[in-house]
Every structure is written in C-alpha cells, then in structure tokens.
Amino acid sequence: MSDVVVVEHLTKLYELGDDHVVGIENVSMRIEAGEFIAVMGASGSGKSTFMHLIGMLDEPTSGSYFFEGIDAIRLTGDERADIRSRRLGFVFQSYNLLPRTSALENVELPMIYAGVPEQQRERIALEKMALIGIAHLRDHNSNQMSGGQQQRVAIARAMVNNPGLILADEPTGALDTKASKDVMELFTTLNNEHGITILLVTHEADVAAFAKRIITFRDGAIISDVRRGEVAA
C-alpha cells in the first residue's frame, strides 16, 4: 500500500517570550492509504499539534513531512491551502458549520475553493450526503439539526473533494454516547467500505477502540503505536 503521510523527526516548538514550549519533538511515523488511526493522549501531549501539522494548518520548526509524495515543508501558503481543499478533509469537535446556511451549502463549501463548477457542486454534495444518510437534511440550517446531524454534515463536507486523508479533531467531543457511537460507526463504514484514510484525535478510549491503529502521545512524543490484533508492547 502507498504511503499517504511520511513524517521524520518532526518538531514543533512554540515560542513564549524568550522561552519555548515543546509541541511535538522528533516524531517519525507513516500513514498508509486505507488506515484508520486514533491519536490519543492527555491535553498538552502534542496530539493536536501533530494533527495540525499533518493537516497543513501549521508549519513545523524542523523535520520532514511528505504528503502523498509532496514535500510539504517547501510549499507556500497558497499551495498548502490548495492541498487542504483538494486532498484533505477536516472534521472538528464543534462541527464549524456556517451559521444561517443550509446543510447543502455547507457541504458545497470546499468545492467552491477547489474550483469545482457550480453545476457539479450540488450533484456531488447530494451524492455524499446520500452516502452518509443525510440527504433529507439538505435545506436544514445548523440550528435546526442535532449535534449528531451537524457532525454528519461536517463529515460530508470533509468528503466532497475525495480527499486522501480525513482529519478528525475530537469529532465526538460534543456528542452524547448514542450520537458518538453513530458517528464512529459512520467513520468505520467509510473506512471499511470506501477505503477512506482517517486520522482521528481523541482522549476517549472507547472512541479510539473503533480505529485499527492507536497512537499515543505524551510530552510531545509517541509513546506507543499499536495496531489492532497486536499485543501492546
């Protein structure tokens, strides 16, 4: 299988006046296509920093990062934005749907920035919404939907450009147990049946249990990397 992400000696330091704080330090790992990975760790462990770097929302201090064979370190801001729009999908804890905007328009948003022609946008968006089972919500605004429904709209939004990797930052953090389970089952289905590569950040073990591989961060470094079926070292 091909590598989606190859990271070597990745380090991110945050400057605080004269001092600096370690985000992550000397992290090396790779993600292959079709993987479903949960990144765990306490707050401040570096798991969010890691996800932001992989998602090209932030730039590392040192180390190397190749995404689908492209050297991400050398990209300009605009080139990173283009990769975010065409090859990456984001799902957030707080859904981040546009207010007073229909579910359909929210799902179409990344295609506007990717330059998909207007007439194709609605068709593609409805296709993905149907796949996730939320086609009936097309005209609902975010204040007319439950948290679980909003998160499904956000997942559809992350999928419209057929990304190579979906990054989910605490996607179940704001959901109740039932809705959490539904969202995680959706991710599992998307991974199993559609081969979508998923990297999910969580601090809940039962959420992480849905993934095929669990990476644990502590103090900015990976302390364990376990694939399901293997015995923890």
Binding site: H52, G55, L57, D58, G77, D78, A81, D82, R84, S85, R86, F90, F92, N96, L98, P99, R100, T101, E105, L109, P110, I112, Y113, A114, G115, E118, R157
Partner: protein, 405 residues
C-alpha cells in the same frame, strides 16, 4: 475563485445579516444623497444666474446714480438724482457703444375700458428692445420721433395684454390710461417669462422716456442708463470710458467720490457665480464629510464582522480558501455594501432633489457625471475602508482562528 463566486459569497454573507447590512449602508446612503442634493442646488443656482446673464446680454452695462448722504444716512446706489438723458446721449457717442437707453420707472394703476391693472411703466429709448434683445409680438416699437415729441404711445408686455384685454381682442390702436393720461397702444412685446429672481418681465408697459418724464413723473433725471457695448470684449474699455466721460460731465475731481456707478453685467454675474461656487464647495464639503463618516461606519462594522466571524474564517481557510480569497471576500462585502449604499443614495438624492424643486420651486440641475462620480466614489470608500478589516481577516492564523471563542 472567479468574480461571480466571490460576489455570491459576499451577497450571501450580507443577506445573512440583513438588518445590520442596511444600517451600515445608511451612512453611505445619507452621504451620497446629501452630495446629490447639494450639487443639484448649487448647479441649479449657477445655471439660473448664467441664464439670466445671457437673457440680459453679455454686452450690457448699467450706469446707476450714486449714493447721497441725507442727514448722515447714506442712501445707497440709485439714491441720488444725478443722471440725465443728456448723459445717455453723450455715452451713445463713445466708440464701442452700440446703443444707450435711459430708464425712468413708476408703478401705477393703468386703465383700459372696463379693466384696470397695477403694473410697472418704464420710460425707455427706441434702442431698448435692441439692447435687451426683446422681440415684438405685434405692431411697432416707438421711434425717435415719438421720443422727441414725447408722444402718448405705449407698448404692452404680454401679462398686461392679458389683464387689460382679457377677451383676446387686439390691443393695437386701443387707449390705455396711465395716471389719467391716455396712451395709444402701438405694439405688444414678445413673452420673456420670469427673470432669474422670479420677477415676471412681461408685467410691464414701455413708453418713450421723454413721455414718462414730462407727462408722468415730472422728473428731469433718469433712474438708470442701460448701455450696450459693440461686443463682449469691449465691455471693460466702455466701462472706463463711461467713467471718464461722466466724471468730466459731472465735474468730479478726485478725491471726491463719483456720484454714479458703472457696472457690467459680466462683473455682477461673475461675482454672483463665484459666491455660488463657494457655497457649492462648502455644501459639497459637508456632504463629503458625511460620506466619510459613512465609510468609517463601514470599516467599524467590517472590523466587528471579522472578529465575529473569526471561526468562520478559520474554517474557510481549513477547507482550502487561500488568504487572497479571504481578503477578496471581505473586500467584496465592503464594496458591495458601499456601492449598494451609493446607488440607493443616488435614488434618494434624486427623489430629494425632485421634492425640493417641486416644493420650493428652486432651480435644480443634476449633472449626470455627478451621479456616476457618487457611485464610483462610494465604491472607492468601500475599497479604502474595507481593506484594513479584510487584510486583518486574511492574515489570521487558521488554528488560532478555529480556536477563537
């Protein structure tokens, strides 16, 4: 991102906050409407002054008697009785002078048959219609012979014709009694309409000035001498010549002040016109300040909007919006706001102008270039005041923006 998509994003965002968008536009609407109305008033006033001048003739000069002091009180121009018909005849002999007409006026009740009417009776020379470029409607104007003989003949303005001969009969050959003296109507004047001050110029009767002086007022002096120069260029020369001539005739040696004053209509007009221009400039300045305040209002709201929508900006960046696209989106919102405000302002300005013109009967004129300029200027207000907030939005860090509470 093409222009259409960018405009679409801007319109969607503005429509989501309809009330706020309207209130933001209000500043620009008021500013542009104020510009349109003030410019319309200014341009209208200027045009009416210009029209008045051209109706009087740009070659025209007037000689007024000077001021006299009576018991310590100065009377102002025209108060003294120093001009005579002979002064007029002497001026007529000057080079570059085409014609001179004295004028002696009185306001009185005139009677013809069973009708009467109060009007202005003015004694003038046969050259008067030439100086004023005033055509005849019927009959003839009086001649030099009529002047010499102080003939009891008169020429009627159209308003007088309508009021003394309401049944439409020709007034020619009829008799009009002026202060009990019967005058025969020998002609009627063409309609001139109102002058720039709103006076009805057709409400007049013209008689030979000799007849007016000897038969009606008993004066030996005239109230004004109207002079026509041969062309507009010689007006300043004629002005100097008249001054020299009259100083000699009236035996005035400096430093004694002149007992008359000579003015060209050009000078009066340009003074009026420059006063108008100053007023126009001041009004436009006030209007421009209100437009500026409107622009600051837009900037204020755009700043609030950028802060309020920080998470939205973060999300847009996360799903792939380049920072230039974010800049364009917010700049477009600001330009759409200000331009829409400008267009609505023009509509209100036109309506306001129409209202003032109808209610106050002010002459109003809206130069089309000003409409284009107002809309263009408000679009520029949008660019100028929208750029800083838009730049602020486009420079946000995506992660910090997404985490913003």
């Amino acid at each position: 991102m093409n222009l259409k998509a960018t405009l679409r994003l801007a319109f969607d965002a503005l429509l989501r906050n309809r009330a706020r968008s309207m209130l933001t536009m209000l500043g620009v609407i008021i500013g542009v409407a104020a510009v349109i109305v003030t410019v319309a008033i200014g341009a209208g006033a200027r045009a009416s002054v210009q029209a008045q001048i051209s109706s009087l003739g740009s070659n025209m000069l007037v000689v007024l008697p000077g001021s006299i002091t009576q018991g310590g009180a100065r009377t102002g121009f025209g108060g003294a009785s120093t001009l005579t018909p002979d002064d007029g005849m002497a001026i007529a002999k000057l080079p570059n002078v085409a014609a001179v007409s004295p004028a002696v006026g009185l306001r009185t009740q005139v009677v013809s048959g069973g009708n009467n009417w109060q009007t202005t009776v003015t004694g003038v020379a046969p050259t008067y219609t030439f100086i004023r470029s005033w055509p005849m409607a019927s009959g003839l104007f009086f001649s030099q012979n009529d002047t010499v003989s102080a003939a009891k003949v008169c020429v009627l303005g159209q308003t007088v014709v309508q009021n003394l001969f309401p049944n439409g009969a020709s007034p020619l050959g009829q008799t009009v009694n002026i202060k009990g003296v019967p005058f025969t109507v020998i002609g009627t004047l063409g309609a001139m309409g109102q002058n720039g001050m709103g006076q009805d110029q057709d409400d007049t009767i013209l008689v030979p000035y000799t007849s007016a002086m000897h038969r009606l007022t008993g004066q030996t002096t005239v109230s004004i001498l109207t002079v026509s120069a041969t062309d507009a260029a010689s007006v300043p020369i004629v002005l100097t010549e008249i001054t020299t001539l009259l100083e000699a005739r009236h035996r005035i040696i400096p430093p004694t002040p002149d007992d008359f004053s000579v003015r060209s209509l050009q000078a009066i007009a340009s003074a009026a016109s420059s006063t108008g221009a100053v007023m126009e400039f001041l009004l436009a300045g006030v209007a421009a300040v209100s437009l500026l305040v409107g622009g600051i209002g837009i900037m204020n709201i755009m700043m609030v909007s950028v802060t309020e929508r920080t998470r939205e900006i973060g999300l847009r960046m996360a799903v792939g919006a380049r920072s230039a696209v974010i800049l364009n989106q917010f700049l477009t919102e600001s330009i759409v706001l200000s331009t829409a405000g400008g267009i609505i302002g023009v509509v209100f300005g036109l309506a306001g102008t129409l209202l003032v013109a109808t209610l106050a009967h002010w002459p109003m004129l809206i130069p089309p270039t000003w409409i284009a300029f107002s809309v263009l200027f408000s679009a520029m207000v949008g660019v100028f005041f929208g750029y800083y907030p838009a730049r602020k939005a486009s420079h946000l860090h995506p992660i910090e923006a997404l985490r913003f509470e």
